[in-house]
């Protein structure tokens, strides 16, 4: 057994928590400004676009950029991220790695599945769980935010299966809330299966809830709406904006903490297993630098695989960036991304399918495995991840937005016990 002992230097966590709020607010402001700018200040277009987004069934993958345009999609992302930020502030939690990851994830997925209307039922469910458990909502706020993965469930019931108003809204609210309610205990239990090696743990738990829900729907002859959409916009509309944002993040990190590189050494030495709060352990400066770096890596990955630029891909990059405050760094994230790429090229799936493109970005959910067991283990689990992610979506029918979290949980749960045994065997601890 080894002791991770690479805390570098003292920093005021509370003070940096205040600064981290600025990071989140800057993201929200940039998304909002970009959205309004992309719509050329046309308020009617934005309102119409938001209206289109809200009534989408949202079964995975539903690209809001394709459905409602860049402006409305990004404005929706800003509004959903703002909801996340307000909930965190109202809960009075420290804005550190997990909170940053939660807001960035909401922002990212609000480009392809979450919207200002459908995120509320699952949040309400977590709130009710907290109330019934006689615990403060603040303790479950992370589950509430990440739990918006099940947002398509409410949208599908409201707009996808043909129920008439007002029953569609009542059923959507009731079932969405119930899913959120049960998510809290299931998510905690899900941690045991992969032992913290799958960063998108809620995706793993939400996958089971989505599977059960789909099974019930099928049992009563209810079929999910078909469709889905995948845009491909000119990179020139998105790439410069993101490039500046990530470079700005790196510069801000260096300004906030002139000795950021000391903390960064600690970050890249970390396995990234849950719980790896980089803000708390290594400081905001080093964390911001890491977030900017991971953003650039995400963009480079899209170019290298010849991916499309659209809502889901930008969402994948934003999630990569958010979790760079909570477990991911270049050394542990790249191996699974490479593993997915290799397997996509070797298999029938190829790199052109939407699922493969997203898997390259979201496979970094398995970064802790390469962080703990080395790059070859990371590549191997990345390869396993790709074949699983192409298949497990059928189980929940796209009701769980974090399909890569679902597949990642399975991959980690299967491979970690083997890796663990091999390591103990090598150390003669068996």
């Amino acid at each position: 057994m080894k002791v991770a002992q690479n805390y570098i230097r003292h920093h005021d966590v509370n003070a940096e928590g205040h600064l981290a709020q600025a990071v989140v607010l800057v993201l929200i402001a940039l998304l909002g400004v970009y959205g309004i700018g992309a719509a050329r200040l046309d308020a009617n277009a934005l309102i119409d676009g938001l209206g289109i987004i809200v009534v989408q069934p949202d079964i995975l993958i539903n690209d809001y950029v394709e459905k409602a345009g860049l402006g409305a999609a990004f404005l929706n992302a800003a509004l959903c991220a703002l909801v996340g930020y307000v909930l965190l502030r109202r809960s009075r939690v420290l804005i550190s790695g997990p909170a940053i990851a939660a807001v960035f994830t909401i922002a990212g997925f609000s480009l392809f599945g979450k919207n200002v209307a459908n995120i509320w039922p699952s949040i309400l469910g977590v709130y009710l769980f907290s109330a019934l458990s006689k615990r403060p909502f603040a303790e479950n706020v992370l589950v509430a935010l990440f739990g918006t993965a099940l947002a398509p469930l409410s949208s599908e019931l409201a707009f996808g299966i043909g129920l008439a108003a007002p029953w569609n809204f009542i059923v959507a609210l009731a079932v969405g809330s119930a899913a959120g309610f049960f998510l809290s205990p299931i998510a905690r239990s899900a941690l045991d299966f992969h032992r913290g090696y799958n960063l998108y743990n809620i995706g793993f738990a939400a996958g089971f809830i989505g599977t059960v829900t789909l099974s019930f729907l099928k049992a009563f002859g209810i079929t999910l709406s078909s469709g889905g959409s995948w845009a491909s916009v000119n990179p020139g509309f998105i790439v410069p904006f993101m490039l500046l944002y990530f470079l700005g993040m790196m510069a801000a990190g260096a300004v906030i903490d002139p000795q950021w590189y000391l903390g960064y050494k600690g970050i890249v030495a970390s396995s990234g297993r849950l719980v790896s709060d980089f803000v708390r352990s290594y400081g905001l400066g080093a964390t911001l630098f890491n977030m900017g770096t991971m953003g650039l890596i995400g963009m480079a990955a899209v170019f290298i695989i010849g991916g499309d630029w659209n809502g889901p891909v930008v969402g994948g990059i934003l999630t990569l960036v958010g979790f760079a405050a909570f477990g991911k760094h270049p050394f542990n994230a790249l191996p699974p991304m490479i593993g997915v790429t290799i397997m996509a090229m070797l298999s029938n799936y190829g790199l052109r399918t939407p699922a493969s493109q997203l898997a390259v970005l979201f496979s970094a959910t398995l970064a802790p495995i390469s962080g703990a067991y080395g790059p070859f283990a990371g590549i191997a689990v990345g390869m396993l991840h790709l074949v699983l992610v192409q298949t497990v979506g059928v189980l929940h029918g796209g009701l769980n937005l974090y399909n890569n979290g679902f597949a990642g949980g399975m991959a980690a749960g299967l491979i970690v016990p083997i890796l663990e045994w091999m390591r103990e065997w090598r150390r003669h601890e068996v």
């Binding site: 002791v3 991770a4 805390y7 966590v13 509370n14 420290l94 550190s96 997990p98 941690l191 663990e420």
Partner: protein, 123 residues
């Protein structure tokens, strides 16, 4: 069993593993479960931590208790056989005492403040 009591036991498990990795083979754990505040003391009589290790522990507990992290991810504490979760432990309890003295060994006292834990987390 109360959730907070279980959480404190998980923390104790991590402290026990930490002492073990540092070479301790005689460790005494003791608890005091109160209505508002519960304590756990881990005492390793046969080791004195090096200054670097002591500094590491102090930094682990340097930040505030984070209920949102402790409540959700707290189940990971005390589970792994091959790794420590000291970073997580730092979000779950407060450090009340850490002493390392030759002859007396090393003693860590941590606590969870149930009621204040719920309401004092303001910035």
């Amino acid at each position: 069993m109360k959730f907070d009591a279980v959480q404190l036991m998980r923390v104790a498990e991590e402290l026990l593993k930490y002492f073990y990795t540092k070479g301790a083979r005689h460790v005494v754990l003791s608890y005091d479960f109160g209505a508002d505040r519960s304590f756990c003391a881990a005492h390793a009589k046969d080791i004195v931590l090096a200054s670097d290790d002591e500094e590491f522990l102090r930094r682990v507990f340097d930040g505030p208790v984070q209920p949102e992290v402790a409540n959700y991810y707290g189940t990971l504490a005390g589970r792994r056989r091959d790794e420590l979760e000291m970073e997580l432990v730092g979000t779950m309890v407060e450090l009340d005492e850490l002493s390392c003295e030759p002859g007396l060994g090393t003693r860590i006292l941590v606590s969870r403040r149930e009621m204040e834990y719920r309401s004092s987390h303001e910035h």
